[in-house]
């Protein structure tokens, strides 16, 4: 077993194990910090797949932005004196059966399909290519994503403002 396989299994175990803690933990803070480890594991998998810019972007945006936002959400949706940040489950049996069935079906499909082999892309530095593509072929989606972020910013601020009787 070469070192790349060992590193892959380590990152895969971190990712899937932390995701299980996210979904199954009783306390919300445990879920949030396990989500942090899940994002780190996914960034490691990106590096193994040769997507170095994407791994850095994942860490910056997901861990530094989205996770902090989720922690804000956890902290703001409980009373200040209520230190019992627990989260219950509803209909866990049915959900477990459905998720396990889905997992079995998708894994069977993924393992038994003969995927169309292509030239593949050996890991290389991707930042220059991504920059060129953003300014060239994917310029319209890039601008649309910028407008989407502006709309989300304004919309989120509008939704939570306190309506004062002016």
């Amino acid at each position: 077993m070469n070192p790349q396989a060992i590193i892959f299994y380590v990152f895969a175990a971190i990712t899937v194990g932390s995701a299980a803690v996210v979904v199954l933990a009783r306390s919300l803070i445990y879920s949030a910090f396990a989500l942090l480890f899940t994002f780190f594991g996914v960034a490691g998998l990106y590096v193994l797949l040769g997507a170095d810019f994407l791994a850095a972007a994942q860490l910056l945006i997901y861990v530094g932005g989205i996770l902090v936002l989720l922690l804000f959400g956890v902290m703001l949706t409980h009373k200040l004196y209520d230190l019992d940040l627990k989260s219950g489950v509803t209909q866990f049996g049915a959900g477990l059966i459905l998720a396990a069935g889905l997992f079995i079906v998708v894994v069977k499909m993924a393992v038994t399909t003969t995927w169309a082999g292509g030239p593949g892309r050996p890991p290389a530095v991707t930042t220059a290519d991504i920059g060129t593509l953003f300014m060239g072929r994917y310029l319209l989606p890039f601008e649309a994503a910028s407008i989407l972020l502006l709309v989300a910013l304004i919309g989120a601020a509008m939704i939570v403002r306190r309506k004062t009787n002016a």
Binding site: A19, V22, L28, L35, L54, L70, G73, T77, F134
Partner: protein, 101 residues
């Protein structure tokens, strides 16, 4: 030798765990965490196919846009959760049943 199917199995596991989180958790922020797991699993699929299949950068570009959209979605979803909490004083989604017939 680590191939395409290894990454597909990992992403399938993340996807099923995300579905489990969305279906069974009561707290709204926990459901959002499940949605983030689903988005990450789709991203792993995209990047794995970009690496092992076509060989171009389309998978990674798509994954970057998915990350951008996930960030915008979490912002708006948390705004909705905070407003819901302000109205109903509870973060549990199954108690937001004003529209229930």
């Amino acid at each position: 030798m680590i191939g395409l199917q290894h990454y597909l199995v990992v992403s399938a596991a993340l996807f099923s765990l995300g579905i489990l989180g969305v279906l069974t958790r009561r707290n709204a922020v926990n459901v959002l965490m499940g949605v983030e797991l689903i988005l990450n699993s789709a991203n792993i699929n995209l990047v794995a196919f970009s690496r092992y299949g076509a060989g171009n950068m389309q998978g990674q570009m798509f994954a970057i846009f998915v990350i951008v959209i996930a960030a915008a979605e979490v912002a708006v979803a948390l705004a909705i959760v905070l407003t819901l909490y302000r109205l109903r004083r509870t973060p549990n989604l199954d108690e937001a049943d004003i529209l229930k017939g």
